[in-house]
Amino acid sequence: MPSSRGIRLAAAAVTVALATSACGLGSSGSSADQGGTPSGKVGGTVTLETLQLKPTFTDYMNGVIAGYEKEHPGTKVNWVDIPFQGAQEKLTADATAGNLPDVVNLNPQFAQALEAKGLFVDLDKAAADVKASYVPGAWSAFQVPGQQGSFGLPWYLTSEVTMYNKDLFKKAGLDPEKPPATFDELLADGAKLSAAGQGAFYGIHPALENRFVTDLAKQGVPLLDASGKKWTFNTPEAAAYLQKLVDAYKGGVYPQDSLTQNHSKENEAYQSGRIGLLPSGPNFLATIKKNAADIAANTGVGPQITGASGATNMSVMGLLVPKSGKNQATALDFAKYLSNAQNQLAFSKIVTILPSTLESLKDPYFKAEGDTSPEGTARRISAEQIAKAENLVPVQYDSRVTAAVIGKVQLALQGKLTPQQALDQAVEEADKITGAAG
């Protein structure tokens, strides 16, 4: 499945590239006359497109929109919400047709292909007044290597924590109050859990496509050079880490069938009590509670797994203002309002996410004092680590590159390639996709 989806996405990407370069619809026409900062008065109608926030956050969003319209009489915000699945395809089609909404909610990976075409307003310039109020690592997530500027206002963030099943920890003779914190501890605890489980349960799931490259970055492996085209993760350190994974797979630390499975299978495995450790976003706690209440009650939360440098990763959502919009001044003003400290604090109180504004992170809510529930712990831990967290994976690591790289890593785990060979070949394939290799 992943590979066929990869191919289909690749096909779509190629078409978009052809369509945009050949007919130049949308991009060239509107970007030429709108080089700099959007100017003009705030007023009139703007359209906001978000990623799958209905129906859970309908009330919150409508509240914010009503608040904005009240503060700025004469403005009207149309809110459109599209499902996450297929969103990238829809946006590329809309971009080609010059049909993008006035404000669009994207993550850096989705945004990058469109950012690279210069479709969005440069917020380093246009929103310089508010830049300092956002978490720096989140702001820089919307930069494109090799290009000037930054294209998104960070909206909401998540920072991975480590969830673990205390029951299984006890069964394996591990201390249920002491989750692993480093990669070596994770593998060691995983091995103990799998040994105790004897096939009934395991320690960890590799979730390669979700984690492998992020984990390399956390251990200080440089992923991409400054040109943004040449991949560099075939270092001896990376090979040494991959060797550890190979040994773990051989030693039965991972479930036999987990090699090709993605993050959602990992989530399912955790919810069925088949694995003991799950590094994932804190928002996942709510899902566990719904689908497996007994496991949720036994879930402990620890900090994100880190390497020697202690670097942590975060996932970023952002608000972008396309240059094709007819009312950019209002669009930008509304995007600032939607992502301001007050509105983001209110947002993070209804769901386990973190605000991207430094001021709201200081709120006592994130200290979660006296709250020992998994959610409270997760909130405290992730808020503590977010200030120094970064979006470690470059936006060029898209679905096509992922498919190419992970394919090689899987071969290494099966013992068909040595770790160094696998990484060398992965870099070669990835270079072909991003255009560094002829």
Binding site: I7, R8, L9, A11, A12, V14, T15, V16, A19, C23, L25, L51, Q52, L53, K54, P55, T56, V80, D81, I82, P83, F84, Q85, G86, E89, K90, T92, A93, T96, A97, N99, E268, A269, Q271, S272, G273, R274, N283, A286, T287, K290, N291, A292, A293, D294, I295, V351, T352, I353
Partner: protein
């Protein structure tokens, strides 16, 4: 039925052995073969229907029950219809289903009509480039939709058909599959009948409408089911071409059951069950014709 009798055929044909009575050993072997066949059938049945049953059972499970338990538990301990109510509360399912139904029925009509007309022309009329035309129809079946999505979107936009249900329907209005199925069905009809009709003074239209079309009802049913299912299940094109949420089709609409931060598998399962019901109804209503249609397509002669 015929397959069950074949093992006995060599017995009667073998002159060195009496045709009757059948030796006991042979009867045992036949019984063993029969059991084996049914076991195999049951296995395939479990493989194809298993996931569906799992989904059905998930949709009925109470809130306290584990969804991903291992081994999976098929019978819900606290069965409830609550999740179906929740689906109706969260998403205007009936409204979306109505949109889907409009698109799917439109697609059935157009595929049966246009597909059979094009198929008849390719099968029965002689004109230059007929083989090429058939080849092109065949070729459209292997082009992945993603690679033509953007250009299709641009065409739809220039025709002012984006954000309309008609725009959702048109790209699949006469699919290559329907045309090829109908062409093959018409080709197998004996030409003599139509030649006789020509002598009686029937024109092309009469021959198509009065003689050829009624003889391929089975294939028409197959085309109807296929086009209904494709249209009903289509996700990407409706998502891309529609922006007004009230026009969403069911496959796009039920995406809202799995939120960004919440993921209640039971509610999602209930939603998918509701989406599948119309397909089942249609299939069972047409299955008599459908299997005949599949047969029609299989025999060449």
């Amino acid at each position: 039925m015929t397959t069950l009798q074949t093992p006995q055929a060599p017995v009667a044909a073998d002159p060195r052995r009496p045709a009757t009575p059948v030796p006991t050993a042979r009867r045992v072997r036949t019984a063993a073969g029969l059991t084996g066949r049914y076991l195999l059938l049951a296995l395939v049945f479990a493989l194809t229907v298993g996931p569906f049953l799992w989904q059905l059972s998930t949709s009925l499970k109470g809130n306290g029950e584990r969804v991903f338990g291992y081994p999976p538990q098929l019978l819900p301990a606290h069965p409830t219809l609550h999740h179906y109510a929740e689906v109706l509360d969260t998403v205007p399912v009936l409204h979306y289903a109505g949109n889907s139904l409009v698109v799917a029925l439109g697609s059935v009509l157009s595929n049966c009509l246009l597909g059979s007309m094009a198929g008849y022309a390719l099968a029965r009329m002689t004109f230059r480039g007929r083989g090429l035309a058939a080849g092109i129809f065949l070729a459209t079946m292997i082009i992945p939709f993603e690679s033509i999505m953007v250009s299709e979107f641009l065409v739809a936009r220039s025709l002012h058909l984006t954000d309309t249900l008609l725009g959702v329907m048109i790209p699949g209005a006469a699919s290559g599959l329907s045309v090829m199925l109908m062409r093959n069905a018409f080709r197998r009809l004996p030409a003599e009948v139509e030649e006789a009709a020509v002598l009686d003074g029937a024109g092309e239209w009469t021959r198509f409408w009065r003689i050829a079309l009624p003889s391929v009802r089975g294939t028409l049913a197959a085309v109807a089911i296929f086009s209904f299912v494709f249209s009903w299940d289509d996700f990407l094109w409706p998502l891309v071409s529609l922006s007004d949420q009230s026009k969403y089709t069911l496959t796009v609409g039920i995406q809202y059951l799995s939120g960004t931060f919440t993921n209640d598998q039971r509610v999602i399962a209930a939603g998918t069950m509701m989406a599948v019901v119309p397909l089942l109804v249609l299939f069972f209503a047409l299955q008599r014709f459908f299997f005949r249609g599949v047969g029609e397509g299989a025999v060449k002669g």
